[in-house]
Assembly symmetry: C2
Homo-oligomer: 220 residues x 2
């Protein structure tokens, strides 16, 4: 369950937010005081912070900078000022999103979801159809079946994923794999593709990589 820290001094607003989030499957914690939040953020280690910009003391943008010194947690700024300057500043100061009061609860939830998804991208699983790809672990999964990929297989799969719906030439893959630094047998690529295919087959992805003769490969 994702933990969300709400920094908000108006108790009524905070309570409402809290209930909204809890009923949507998040765990939420409210802190009214920013200084306290700054000290506690390390221990709380939330997955996301909702930072209300109208809290007493300084203005929100500065607070955001202060918070960033303590933690790299994603932050959504909440403000009642509908001022474009603020928006520009808050984005360049490192907020991950920005929402103005009064906000629609559905939109807030969508934005929270979007930010969590974004920031999670580098940590978690990438999906392609029913295939789950754990880039950093070199693992692919489909259902219960799990297979280990080697570095080369991962590079190829990753390249194909990054170029979905496009034909990827053998040259591109060669460059991505070996960077043309040294001479590498042309067939090495074919072999590695073959190995990747057989692993995809192991998890039930027959014919996922299609050959387009004289052109390259495409991920289906």
């Amino acid at each position: 369950m994702k933990k969300i820290l709400i920094i908000e001094d108006e108790q009524i607003v905070a309570k409402e937010l809290c209930e909204l989030l809890n009923s949507s499957g998040y765990e939420s914690i409210v802190l009214e005081n920013f200084q306290e939040a700054k000290k506690e953020i390390f221990n709380i280690s939330p997955d996301l912070v909702l930072l209300d910009i109208n809290i007493p003391y300084k203005n929100g943008e500065l607070l955001l900078q202060e918070l960033r010194r303590e933690s790299s947690v994603p932050v959504i700024m909440v403000t009642s000022r509908n001022n474009e300057t603020d928006e520009v500043l808050s984005m360049s100061y490192g907020a991950d999103d920005y929402i103005t009061k009064p906000y629609n609860p559905n939109i807030l939830l969508l934005r929270i979801g979007a930010v969590l998804k974004r920031t999670g991208i580098s940590l978690e699983v990438q999906k392609y159809k029913e295939l789950e790809i754990y880039l950093q672990k070199g693992i692919i999964k489909r259902g219960e079946k799990e297979v280990n990929l080697t570095k080369n297989e991962m590079i190829i799969l990753n390249y194909l994923l990054a170029h979905q719906n496009k034909i990827v030439t053998r040259d591109e893959l060669m460059t991505d794999l070996w960077n043309n630094d040294e001479y590498i047998n042309d067939n090495a690529l074919t072999v590695n593709i073959s190995r990747l295919r057989s692993k995809l087959k192991e998890v039930g992805y027959q014919d996922a990589i299609e050959t387009r003769k004289k052109m390259g490969y495409i991920l289906l």
Copy 2:
């Protein structure tokens, strides 16, 4: 240089947009007709699409769905309707961001930058201080110096990066590496940390991983 496809039927608006983007270091292409865009998107292969929702024929949300069938390119929806329902829909239909007219050019640029950054995360380089981490290639770089990481080293570095400013326990790392499936010598972790450290040292990152005795490790 990043290529941006503008789908916009009002020529004046399109021209302004085009100039704004070009002067900000993007390459921009305008198509006035959505059907044409749908056909051409494969060949153009833009890095991002600005989709104006007020183009003739159907409404924008449906168009977005159509586009998604052709390409997984990130899309920013542009609309003059400031209607919350639209916003909710466009986000759930897969737009990567949403902006209403009239918009501040600076904000548009910020949003474009943000979307490109997000969507690029899974493909490109991740940065930590002066260190460039190519997750999918298992390579780290600093300046000219480049070193190859093994899968285990990558897993550890990735975990540390994902938990910046937090102390990461040895147990967490053990679980991340071997998932407690089988018994693994406790020292195996220490050895792998040691190996990672020496590779970080190779690129000039002395003392990047600090030991917090009895607690774990922290990335500095």
